[in-house]
Amino acid sequence: MSDMSLPRLQHIVASASVMIVGIWVTYLSYTQQPSEAFLFPRLISTVFVILAIWTFAKACLGWTKVGSGVSGIVFLRMLPGLFVMLVYVFWAAKNLGFYTATALAFFLLYSLYDPAPHNSARSWIKRILVTACFIAVMYGLFALLLKVFTPREVFF
């Protein structure tokens, strides 16, 4: 997709988001105390907000030339993976335990994006075996060899 065919609205929303963060950072830098601790953040946030406003203005005027944005089809494709990733990182890893959560997330992601047919028993067996091998390697590496303590809630 060419850069020019992207709806301008996407660039405006993206640059507006960056600008809002910039304004918020600048506001905090100039209002929080003690002021000595915010000397450097003030300097940085001033440049940050100027550049962010410049980028936003360019997006509004349609001068943005780089970045292909996120098309609807791309977003729909990534959505299930992103959802599994968010649940895995922000909830499951701590509440189910690292190894259980990783096994589930790995299996789900591999199954979701595996081009092999979903109605074939053989491909499901392959997915289960690959997941089991991956978790065995991770357990051997992190728990047995490196002795990294991870949250363990369910099974192991």
Binding site: V25, K94, T150
Partner: protein, 398 residues
């Protein structure tokens, strides 16, 4: 292929030897640098990568600013004040390793998701085997190409922000100019292969000179190396060779050994290793995500690092889709503490002497560094405008 690996090794060894001889000399010169100079050097590092490594100068600089801001999150070193801590996970600031994993690995994982149930893996070309002795003879037949490649690569390597691709292209172009057989270039002529490969490896050693002497990484790779050194409490700079000679020389010598190993690896294992590219993307995405979560957690056994890693990764994916770049953001994050500590030290000195403006904006070295910052931005803006004009002309012709 053999010729490519051999020229790379010769170029790489030459570059590392230059690093060995140049670094101690420049380190002595760097002793003259005060807090204001080190502050400007840190800013220079961010602007050079921000402007040269991005497709948009403004977005590159904005990425650098975001990185510098992220580096200020946590407790202030001098006053102990809380800054921008809006979640418990940010209490200790942003861990560099977790941030690096998030900024580089997670956008790739999401990109793989975005391709959906994609069947095609990367195609691995079958390269016919040639004799290594014959490749060595061929290398010796074209000493001019080798010398041009090594010298061009070394000079370009010293310029922060200019990567191996540019070194290879410049060396190729120069070799072509001096070659009597110019018409054969572009069809796998050995001179072209030798010069380009020697140059892109010869630049690696010299590109680390600014990192080791002035703590200014000249490339994203050097920024990651700087992150590694800082994690171990080693601050590269003028006193690196006095305070940590063991680390400095191990680092340099390992690069020398690395060049030889890279050549051997390339000659004997590259064909097999290339098959990694054939691993299905669905499997690769799940593998990388699992390793990213375990890797970021194991740094400090903290779930906060895992949250930061994922949040930064998702943010970076969307920023990249809108023309922002990860390299300047990473550099800002790494150079932020260096810039801030020197800025604070400098402002203390300035308050006791002639004031901020006089301390930071006068003096030959300050002015030189400011001029380089401005020149790098101006040059990048000019290049961007030029490339746009070129694209517009092509569009008109079509």
């Amino acid at each position: 292929l053999q010729l490519s690996f051999l020229s790379s090794a010769v170029g790489g060894i030459f570059g590392v030897l230059l690093l060995i001889f140049l670094t101690p000399l420049l380190a002595e010169w760097a002793l003259a640098f005060g807090p204001s100079h080190l502050f400007w050097l840190a800013i220079l590092g961010v602007t050079v990568i921000g402007t040269l490594d991005s497709r948009s100068v403004v977005k590159g600089l904005l990425s650098g600013c975001i990185g510098l801001w992220l580096a200020t999150i946590g407790f202030d070193d001098i006053m102990g004040a809380q800054r921008f801590i809006f979640h418990d996970a940010l209490g200790g600031g942003i861990n560099i390793i977790a941030a690096l994993i998030g900024l580089f690995a997670i956008p790739q994982v999401i990109s793989m998701f975005a391709q959906g149930r994609h069947r095609d893996g990367a195609e691995v070309l079958q390269v016919r085997k040639h004799s290594i002795i014959a490749a060595m003879r061929e290398l010796l037949r074209f000493p001019r190409a080798l010398v041009i490649g090594m010298s061009t690569g070394s000079i370009i390597g010293l310029i922060p922000g200019v990567g191996g691709q540019i070194a290879g292209l410049v060396a190729y172009d120069q070799t072509k100019k001096f070659s009597p057989d110019r018409a054969a270039f572009g069809k796998g002529h050995p001179e072209g292969v030798i010069s380009a490969e020697a140059a892109n490896n010869a630049m690696v050693g010299p590109s680390l000179v600014p990192l080791l002497t002035l703590s200014i990484p000249g490339s994203p790779t050097a920024a990651v190396l700087l992150g590694g050194l800082l994690i171990h409490g080693i601050f590269p700079g003028s006193d690196l060779f006095d305070n940590h000679p063991d680390v400095a020389w191990t680092f340099i010598n390992s690069m020398l050994v690395g060049q030889v190993l890279m050549c051997l690896f390339g000659l004997y294992i590259a064909g097999v290793a290339a098959r990694v590219a054939q691993v299905p993307q669905s499997l690769m995405a799940a593998l990388v995500l699992g390793l990213a979560v375990f890797g970021s957690y194991s740094v400090q056994s903290s779930m906060g690092d895992v949250y930061v890693m994922a949040a930064l990764g998702i943010m970076m994916y969307f920023l990249e889709r809108f023309g922002f770049s990860a390299a300047p953001l990473v550099l800002g994050l790494i150079l932020g503490p260096i810039a801030e500590s020197n800025f604070i030290q400098g402002s203390m000195i300035a308050n006791a002497t002639d004031g901020m403006m006089a301390y930071f904006l006068t003096g030959p070295l300050n002015l030189f560094l400011i001029a380089v910052v401005i020149a790098s931005i101006t040059y990048s803006v000019w290049m961007e405008l030029r490339s746009r004009r070129y694209v517009s002309k092509e569009e008109v012709m079509v």
